[in-house]
């Protein structure tokens, strides 16, 4: 039907006046975004060169390695080490997303109930630390969690511990530093959907005899759902492919996708494998964002 409509339309030239303004941006987008990303996808299908780079021969072995498939030529058995790295990164990112939700929901609720001027001030206060350098914010958590860091110093000063607690170089350290990093990504969408909420619905629920917990579960949460979903996705996505936090305060046993990617290119010099990891990571991320966009438009249709 669309095709018929397109064909039936009076012929108009593709280039319209004013489109010249799009030209520089388009060139930049094609040359420095589409082409590099396209090259990564192509390289992921090729054979590794001996000294880095690639050999132009199609080979799907990089993907086979990621998914743990055996390869008789290379004497490789089933091996899920890379799937395990993806799973661990996803788990850590999910833990980060839910922790930001728990920390962010009450705060967003409180901010949404303030007078306008105070609202703007508090939202600014939530956003401001986000613009402190990401590396410096992870570094601050290194100073807090290290063996001779702030927490261990305080605890041993109080006589509560004899030996320093091992906090840095654990998945927990990565989670807490990423929660710290991405809290604004949770609070801002939550705030947006809580602020729109009709408070009379909550009163109605209470008047009809529902307790606080039931009202929260049956009224507040469904109304805040678009913000919750957006917040979870917006925190999960950058946590999943994060490079700085796992590199600096993650344990060497708990390799994550971001550092794996850097290793593949910088130390192993295995471009096809690194490209395949990058392609899988990007596909997963885009899938999450696509699902979020879908749930948002569906929410608008049903509302």
């Amino acid at each position: 039907m669309d095709l018929v409509r397109v064909l039936a339309r009076p012929h108009r030239p593709f280039l319209r006046p004013g489109m010249g303004k799009l030209f520089p941006g388009f060139v930049l987008f094609v040359l420095l975004f589409l082409a590099p990303v396209g090259i990564v996808v192509v390289y992921s299908l090729l054979t590794r060169g001996t000294y880095g780079g690639v050999v132009w021969r199609v080979d799907l072995d990089s993907y086979a390695r990621i998914f743990g498939l055996p390869n008789e030529d290379m004497l490789r058995e089933w091996d899920f080490v890379y799937l395990g790295i993806f799973a661990k990164s996803a788990g850590i990112a999910a833990a980060t997303a839910f922790a930001t939700l728990l920390a962010g929901f009450p705060a967003a609720w409180y901010i949404a109930r303030q007078p306008d001027r105070r609202k703007f001030l508090l939202l600014t206060l939530v956003t401001l630390p986000f613009f402190a350098n990401a590396l410096v914010r992870v570094y601050a958590w290194m100073l807090i969690l290290r063996a001779d860091g702030l927490v261990n110093n305080i605890l041993s000063g109080l006589g509560l511990i004899d030996a320093p607690l091992q906090m840095i170089y654990t998945p927990g350290a990565v989670v807490i530093s990423m929660v710290y990093q991405y809290l604004p990504f949770m609070v801002l969408p939550l705030f947006a959907s809580i602020e729109k909420m009709d408070l009379r619905l909550i009163e109605a629920s209470r008047d009809l005899g529902a307790g606080g917990a039931v009202t929260f579960r049956r009224v507040v949460l469904p109304l805040a759902m678009p913000g919750v979903v957006a917040g979870l996705v917006l925190v999960f996505v950058p946590s999943f492919g994060n490079f700085i936090a796992p590199t600096l305060i993650g344990g060497s046993k708990d390799l994550q996708v971001g550092p794996l990617l850097a290793q593949a290119f910088l130390s192993a010099r295995d471009w096809p494998f690194g490209s395949a990891v990058a392609t899988v990571l990007s596909s997963l991320v885009l899938l999450c964002l696509f699902a979020m966009a879908r749930s948002e438009t569906r929410g608008k249709e049903t509302a």
Binding site: K21, F120, L135, I244, L281, S282
Partner: protein, 289 residues
């Protein structure tokens, strides 16, 4: 909500919000406080107040004279670092040029998308989000592989180009949002009164867009200035930026000087962001409505 039983839930909520803001600001406050700690051996053990680390950073940046200004301080006999100054210069040049380029390109893109209809317009608008949402490490590696394949030398120019790509998308989004909320009647009135397209743009459209453009520029400066991951892969050995320098220093060993550099970087970013937020603050009386 209910005034009858406001006590317990609202006290708990208040406590949570206090805890929330403490969590957000304590790490930064701690970093600032300990950057003045006079303890070269064990950084997190307080041993009195000193400006030494900042003086050393200023000396390494070449802003004060080591021999004249730093005489007599025992922490300052330690080594001097020749890499900090060039890194700061690289960062400033890269941030200002990529933000400048991105602001021009991004604003043009936003104008083109808002003011002219063509097939694929919606698809292009969505595609422009890709450089923002794709993991930064993927973009950094893709650019590295691409530039290496072309044989393009890694240096300031490669970082500037790499930053410009995603910053242009970012500016296009910010300026586009402002264009969407803008009244086209003023432009039509200007055209009716005989002004040409260029005059209308310069005298009517641009002044209305200015807060968005300046805000987009300032935020781009900060994003470029703070970026580690993309610069890490595209800077090569010759164009180390401040975050790349800092990353290396943190991985090698932790010296009190790093704290001072960190605080100065946060301060720089905060000042620029503060200016951007101030420009976009909600006004009491709006003339547009």
């Amino acid at each position: 909500m209910s005034r009858r039983r406001a006590s317990l839930p609202s006290v708990a909520l208040g406590a949570h919000v206090w805890g929330f803001f403490l969590f957000l600001y304590l790490p930064i406050v701690m970093l600032v406080v300990y950057s003045f700690n006079d303890n070269a051996v064990s950084m997190m053990t307080w041993n009195g107040f000193t400006f030494d680390w900042y003086l050393r950073v200023l000396a390494n940046l070449g802003l004060i004279d080591r021999a004249r200004d730093l005489a007599g301080s025992d922490n300052l006999q330690l080594y001097s670092d020749p890499n900090l100054g060039p890194a700061a210069v690289n960062s400033l040049i890269i941030a200002l040029s990529s933000a400048g380029l991105a602001t021009v390109v991004g604003t043009m893109t936003a104008l083109g998308l808002a003011r002219c209809r063509f097939p694929g317009r919606v698809a292009y608008r969505v595609a422009l989000f890709l450089p923002i949402v794709i993991p930064d490490i993927v973009l950094g590696i893709a650019l590295l592989v691409f530039l290496a394949t072309l044989g393009f030398p890694l240096g300031r120019v490669s970082v500037i180009l790499s930053h410009t790509v995603f910053l242009a998308s970012y500016v296009a989004v910010v300026v586009g949002a402002r264009l969407a909320g803008m009244n086209t009647q003023l432009e039509e009135a200007s055209a009716d009164l005989g002004a040409g397209p260029w005059t209308t743009f310069r005298r009517v459209t641009l002044p209305q867009l200015m807060p968005g453009i300046v805000g987009g520029f300032l935020l781009s400066v900060v994003i470029s200035f703070d970026d580690l991951v993309i610069a890490y892969f595209t800077c090569g050995v010759g164009a180390t930026t401040l975050p790349v320098y800092l990353f290396g220093a943190i991985k090698r060993n932790v010296s009190p000087e790093i704290n001072a550099v960190s605080v100065l970087m946060i301060l720089t970013s905060m000042l620029v962001v503060g200016a951007a937020l101030w420009l976009r603050r909600p006004r009491q009386h709006k003339t547009e409505a």
